[in-house]
Subunit: 413 residues, 2 copies
Amino acid sequence: MSAAVSPLAPKSYPDMPALRGVRMATAAAGIKYKNRTDVLLMVFDKPATVAGVFTKSRCPSAPVDFCRTNLAGGVARAVVVNSGNANAFTGVKGRAATELTGQSAADAIGCSTSEVFLASTGVIGEPLDATKFAGVLGQMNKDATGDFWQEAAKAIMTTDTYPKVSTCTAEIDGVTVTINGIAKGAGMIAPDMATMLSFVVTDADIAAPALQALLAAGVGPTFNSVTVDSDTSTSDTLMLFATGAARDDGQTRIETADDPKLASFRDALNDLLKDLALQVVRDGEGARKMVEITVTGAESDAAAKTIALSIANSPLVKTAVAGEDANWGRVVMAVGKSGELADRDRLAIWFGNVRVAVNGERDPDYSEADASAVMKHQDIPVKVDIGLGSGTATVWTCDLTKEYVEINGDYRS
Amino acid sequence: MSAAVSPLAPKSYPDMPALRGVRMATAAAGIKYKNRTDVLLMVFDKPATVAGVFTKSRCPSAPVDFCRTNLAGGVARAVVVNSGNANAFTGVKGRAATELTGQSAADAIGCSTSEVFLASTGVIGEPLDATKFAGVLGQMNKDATGDFWQEAAKAIMTTDTYPKVSTCTAEIDGVTVTINGIAKGAGMIAPDMATMLSFVVTDADIAAPALQALLAAGVGPTFNSVTVDSDTSTSDTLMLFATGAARDDGQTRIETADDPKLASFRDALNDLLKDLALQVVRDGEGARKMVEITVTGAESDAAAKTIALSIANSPLVKTAVAGEDANWGRVVMAVGKSGELADRDRLAIWFGNVRVAVNGERDPDYSEADASAVMKHQDIPVKVDIGLGSGTATVWTCDLTKEYVEINGDYRS
């Protein structure tokens, strides 16, 4: 694990308020790590509604399969998350482990296994000994408390250099509701892989289909717009739970995502998702710089996003950022390879507020000194105008440093 | 530029025979470098037929545009290649530079500008001073000689650590013909980008459409199956010329690519293209290991290639190889993210001859020691069987090392 906290870490953390309807506990089950917590239990004493989005990998982990199945019921009573073992590519043993964990949690809480959700992160290919959970979940349920968000975020870390938490409030029909979230990513320990896990809970009362629609819409410009190294985990999981406790304050249940009463909640949720997603990028392996890439003037928003991700995932762009090199030629290259419609002679490129290229060639007023000054900052905005249409997108990434290679290369020879 | 020759460089170079119908000269035009040659002129005293394949970038360089236009004529009398400046993203100045270079070459040789082909590699975004060529091409044409392949390969190098040459012979209708080729890639100097250039010449007599069909078919499993860092240059150019000098030995012109007399030639050409393509990978920036990735059992050959390239371009797979870490979990990840049909529970993975995973989990006979021993080799074969169909593909890549980051990061701060 990395010793030092990322230089891009937030300078301060919010006080995470307890949130009515959810209790949490952590434990050290000894899955892989010594002397640290590695299991998180979230308990909803009254059934919560639930939404989830998962990895697009064609080889998902066993817990992802388990969650997808249970999501159909739309009801959650418990979430069990472990670090240290991803329970991915573990064949029939993997399915057996999820079933045993689900049953253990159901027994501890007193609910159906179909109301349990699971996530695992860590080593892949090694069988997960789920009996370790059976021994701790009962006590965890007894100990679980509402004021435990920071600890919860810590228990699910792998090589993260800091826990990721976020909180905000919104109004629904005059009632103030709270949204709390935690996330982990994108660290890894050989032979692990980066995984993004995030769990968001609100005390609002929102029906599961509406919650799912909100989450599916919110993930596009947030978690699905960040990339560290273009590699997609088998285990990526983002879940949103609504405990409904705000009913006590008179909030009436929201049934559909297009309900105008959701305006404030939708904005708050999207802000929180963006905050957590950016915290993940800021903890990217070896990251020293954060890059915000905005593409305008593309044929469509989808085309703009494809171009922006092509830039964000280019090793040549990312190493140039690491070297504080205002190498806009590599940005042109990445636009060209994206496959989306582009006209070389209409491109314009900015680093920060410095326009470095316009009309398909170097800006006549180009100043190497001005461009280089932008590259010395920790946060670097890059803007590309394609000059063809009105499609726009923004994505975020980090630089590619020697430390990335070191963290992931292991150099164990 | 890198000081040391890549450890993956060929242990010996072939003697490159002169090839009837083509003469070459190099010169130091001072485009960017000091004390080295940076211009190559190839002259075909009798019109040669010509074929070409180019970058798929939507933002190609000016010379790529120039070649694409002239390719329609199917006739070549001269090729001018320079290193030190890519003439890419140079707007109207770039087009003017290609026109001036084409005219200078046509004047020097005594041919039409439509019979001239151009390629440039080096800095992008800086105007190329094409007047530098005008001063040297006349003398170069006088000096040009047939026995000059090694020097030709050197003149087009950028950060290549060794020149790339290959030669072979074939039989057409009982007549022995020769094929010679040179290539450069994939080095770079900030603010350059990697570019692959290759020029192949044969003395066979083959009509341009047949030559184009041979090249288009040959490039798929060779140059289009290698990747260093997934970034596509604006300037990639592969051209094939046939001088027709074998007519003197009685070879009758081949008019179509499906002529059965081409069997030996096709095989020889494909072998030569593969040899040059692998030399490019072996000189990948910072490369210490060569990885051959074979995918079998995919839904189709195209799906197999997509999966193989997903593995080859994964930073996590490439850093694991650099670290000599038999991290098959990352191979599973890369299969999963490719988007192609895969069934986790049918996957099998080999490093060398060591099967590390089968039926969607770690091989019951897995030996960490055996797998690690494979990873210590310089050349590492990885095989993945998808278990669904009969599609196969093989691609080649190199590892991702700290030296890659250093070469491309510049660290000039």
